[in-house]
């Protein structure tokens, strides 16, 4: 009899053990991909610091990075939703430039900058809505629809603005500027906004019905429809979310570089860098699964690698080579994780 009790006790303890472990292992399991990228990131940082302690132990370089990195983070996070739903958006950088143009033109005309920012975000959201409609109503494949939208917007902005730059230096030190691009001590405020965007995206993706629905839709479209999820609305919302982010990122970039200038060429590199952030972060294009935190770390990794390579003394020509190498290594590591 006592033996049996002992056994029962052991069993209970075992169960408790399993339960308490589950919390940690579950976290590790869910964030495996993101964490592996995070480890790569830490190792890279250590390498940079060892190779070039003067620069990488100095705050200035972080200041510079933390001014441009937030734009990429803000763009990358909502893209996770679109990609998890098994769609893609290739028009987001053009949309960002478009929104920035709206912002720059209206703010230069003397409108209240907060209002101009709202307009920029609405403009971005509208483009996102159109993208969504093209995909769910007309049934275009998102890769084609958004390539079309990308060219359309690029042309619209170039033609509409006559490629005339609009300087925004007059905004410096206004309350608006200080809210979105000022500094706290030496720390760029943009980075705080990036963290706010991260928190919002994580809440939506991990804890909200929207994240749940978007995962189901990307996982099994038919089944989701039969279970009563409004598939069209969910997908459209994801595109609109990207559009809103484009509007915000556009304003951030305007304040960071203090001008609107529709440079041809470089937008494509930004687009690919942001998409790569999402992918190396651990969100596959096969749909149904993704990680917001991964995209965040992915964006950080790529941005630091770019800086690190230049600061390590290699000429700029080599940056893309190493960027490519890191991307391929990260993706390969995900593949191994998956097959385990």
């Amino acid at each position: 009899m006592p033996d049996l009790k002992k056994k029962q006790n052991n069993l209970d303890r075992n169960q408790e053990f399993r339960r308490s472990r589950r919390g940690i292992t579950k976290f590790l399991d869910n964030n495996r991909r993101a964490l592996s990228v995070f480890i790569v990131f830490i190792i890279l940082m250590l390498l940079f610091i060892i190779k070039n302690p003067k620069i990488f132990l100095n705050r200035e370089i972080y200041e510079a990075i933390f001014r441009s990195l937030p734009i990429r983070i803000v763009l990358a996070l909502p893209l996770v939703f679109v990609i998890v739903s098994k769609e893609i958006d290739l028009s987001f950088v053009s949309n960002m430039t478009f929104s920035l143009w709206i912002f720059a033109a209206t703010v230069k005309a003397g409108w209240d900058p907060f209002l101009c920012m709202l307009l920029a975000i609405l403009a971005g959201a509208l483009i996102g809505l159109i993208n969504g409609m093209l995909v769910v109503r007309i049934g275009l494949q998102s890769i084609m629809a958004t390539i079309g939208m990308k060219f359309l917007l690029t042309g619209l902005v170039a033609g509409g603005s006559n490629i005339m730059p609009i300087p925004l230096t007059f905004l410096v030190d206004t309350p608006f500027y200080n809210t979105f691009a000022g500094k706290i001590g030496n720390f760029p405020v943009q980075m705080i906004w990036a963290v706010v965007a991260l928190v919002i995206a994580m809440l939506l993706f991990n804890y909200h019905k929207f994240g749940s629905d978007i995962s189901c839709v990307g996982d099994n479209l038919e089944s989701s429809r039969e279970m009563g999820i409004n598939v069209s609305t969910v997908k459209t919302l994801a595109f609109v979310y990207v559009g809103i982010a484009c509007g915000f990122a556009g304003v951030l970039s305007g304040l960071t570089y203090l001008s609107f200038y529709p440079k041809p060429g470089s937008p494509d590199e930004l687009m690919l860098a942001v998409l790569a952030s999402v992918f190396i972060g651990g969100t596959p294009t096969t749909g149904g699964v993704g990680t917001i935190f991964g995209a965040f770390i992915g964006a950080c990794t790529i941005r630091f690698v770019e800086t690190g390579i230049i600061e390590a003394g290699l000429t700029g020509f080599w940056t893309q080579f190493f960027e490519g190498l890191i991307i391929l290594l990260a993706l390969t590591s995900h593949k191994f994780h998956k097959s385990r």
């Binding site: 579950k26 809440l203 019905k209 995962s215 189901c216 996982d219 038919e222 089944s223 039969e226 149904g288």
Partner: protein
Amino acid sequence: MKNKFLELKNISKSFGKVSALERVNFYIKGEPEIVGLIGDNGAGKSTLIKIISGIHTPDCGEIYINGKRMENWSVVKSRASGVETVYQDRALAMQQTLARNIFMGRELTSIFGFVKSKLQFAEADRLMRTIGFTSKVFASDSAVVNLSGGERQGVAIARALYFKANLMILDEPTTALSLTEAQKIFDFIRQARKGGSSCIFITHNIYHAYDVSDRCVVLDRGKIVMETDREHTTVEQLVKDMQKIAQNNGKVREGINNARS
């Protein structure tokens, strides 16, 4: 006598040139009952239940719920009437958790739409145990892809259980299951009937159908060819009847062949 819960009248459905259903009449009583829907592969069983659950629109015919004619029958209306379907070919969202699958499209949310994950996990756990899946391996936060065939079926049934269906439709739930797993499903169906849910149970195994059903309906190439209460037949008789139907088929086929040659 209560109204019939569900009644289909003169339902036809064809896919291009294939006529899947021809003038089918079918009903579910007002009192809970288990109806076995039997028929060969391609007989039109899945098509019939997809019409009931609103996925397919019939080419013609009428649908009544509790005696009331339903217009523009749809997935949403079907679910609102308390019809829960466990599909044969539509898989679950494999990479999502068990709990998320059970509550797919109908998440338990607080204001602002945040999902009550803990409650969902707890409910999922309770439901799976109710149905009889007490495996130590799975938890309500395991991805469905890691579950066994029976457990996956259980997930779909748990939906029906949680949302207290008036009518559960199970499309060949036992085909991929082991004997003990199949037995669990049968127990569950009987239990659900006691709880007030009717069930349409699709199979092409006559013994399974006889085992669990109150009434058997045989579908053959788009037509209902036989209907019998369990009380009025034996499993041997049922097997004989089915053989006869199969032979008739053979004759018809021969007839067609002869006419052609």
